[in-house]
């Protein structure tokens, strides 16, 4: 952590149900600027739902999520989308890259959507690919690269807009130990360099060991632990 303690994202008393199933039952989390926060919990505990609510992908049934004091639920849909695009980055387990686009086009995509010209966007995208050690696959499509390379491309895409918060949901769940470690090292290093906070959802403690702090979700509630780096 860089020493900053400013709260960048805050979820308070979130409740979320899907039909009869309650996923969140009064979950509260605070994310500080620049920290890597691991969200642990067994399968079905509600940790991915919590991430989706914190990122404004899902709206909670009750409770609030504020990003730098802005209530996400109070924003119109298109404003919430713009905020996600400009301020947040996302890395999922797989399936996040557009298969028809090359890796460099994938990484440039968030910048293009924000209105940047193609040349400028792809120049920045190439810089990020180089930083993630995958500049050699720039012209290839996601289907032509290995799982580890694909996740590094996904990290480059998440970081290309220099987001304030990166949401990573089991980002190395499909990788072997060595590739997993490399992806996490690169993700954390990139986040620290840009002072981005990372919300890292995982069920693996080896992944959580890359964090500064961890919380555990059990039965839709959050248990805080205070073991800081």
């Amino acid at each position: 952590m860089t020493g900053a303690t400013e709260t960048v994202l805050e979820a308070v008393e979130l409740h979320k149900s899907f039909g009869e199933t309650t996923a969140l039952h009064g979950a509260s989390v605070t994310v500080r600027a620049g920290e890597v926060l691991a969200v642990l919990g067994p399968s079905g505990s509600g940790k991915s739902t919590l991430l989706h609510c914190m990122a404004g992908i899902l709206l909670p049934d009750a409770g609030t999520v504020s990003y730098r004091g802005i209530d996400l639920a109070a924003l119109a849909g298109h404003r919430r989308s713009a905020l996600r695009r400009d301020e947040f980055g996302f890395v999922f387990q797989f399936g996040q890259l557009v298969p028809e686009l090359s890796c460099v086009e994938n990484v440039a995509l968030p910048l293009r959507l924000a209105g940047q010209r193609r040349k400028a966007a792809e120049r920045i995208a190439r810089e990020w690919l180089a930083r993630l050690d995958v500049d050699t696959v720039a012209g290839k499509r996601p289907g032509e690269v290995s799982g580890g390379q694909g996740q590094r491309v996904a990290v480059a895409r998440a970081m290309v807009t220099r987001p304030k918060v990166v949401f990573a949901d089991e980002p190395t769940g499909a990788l072997d130990s060595l590739n997993s470690e490399r992806v996490l090292e690169l993700l954390v290093a990139a986040a620290r360099d840009t002072n981005a906070a990372v919300v890292l959802v995982t069920h693996e403690t080896r992944v959580a060991a890359f964090s500064d702090r961890d919380i555990t979700v059990r039965d839709g509630k959050v248990r805080q632990t205070e073991f800081s780096r």
Binding site: P42, E204, T205, R206, A209, F210, T225, F227, R229
Partner: protein
């Protein structure tokens, strides 16, 4: 870890005196818990008695003269045998934790907090090792990896035990 076998292994690259061996051991295997000189010399005496090392001259220096030791053919056979033998899997600290959990349940204290506290301590140690790995060399990374995998196994046990606490409480109190 067998200190005798480790010292023998270090002697395979060439004769060394006791101080040199201690330094090599501490550097490679035990930075956190350095060997005592006495342990090195008593181990060398035992290896000498068993014919696994021999004296290989005396090195003169500013201080006292220092005996050099060399590995013998019997020593090489011994180290080969040791390297080829698997270590018996041990149960590490689960036994202690299991005892604590059972005692907590028997006394009606509840074991969830105990498990959570242990879990947090384990994760804190894993963070420390992960950080150390990032800045260290490959040898350091391999040592940290080994510790990390063991801690991870302990954590899995802690989580599974936490998930089975209700069932365990019922059984313990019968």
């Amino acid at each position: 870890m067998s200190i005798a076998n480790t010292l023998l292994g270090l002697l395979e690259s060439g004769p060394r005196h006791g101080y040199d061996l201690k330094r090599a051991y501490d550097e490679r295997f035990s930075a956190e818990r350095p060997l005592h000189y006495g342990q090195v010399y008593s181990t060398l005496q035992r290896l000498l008695r068993n014919g696994l090392v021999s004296e290989a001259g005396v090195e003169a220096g500013d201080g006292p003269e220092r005996k050099r030791y060399a590995i013998t053919d019997a020593g090489i056979t011994d180290i080969e045998k040791w390297l080829a033998s698997p270590e018996s899997p041990s149960s590490y600290l689960q036994n202690t934790l299991y005892t604590k959990v059972v005692l907590a349940l028997l006394s009606g204290r509840g074991a969830a907090e105990l498990l959570d506290t242990q879990r947090a301590a384990h994760l804190a140690k894993m963070r420390e090792l992960t950080k150390r790995k990032t800045g260290g060399d490959l040898a350091d990374a391999l040592i940290c990896d080994h510790a990390l995998f063991h801690l991870e196994a302990d954590l899995r046990w802690l989580e599974l035990t936490a998930a089975r606490l209700d069932e365990l409480t019922e059984r313990v109190r019968i």
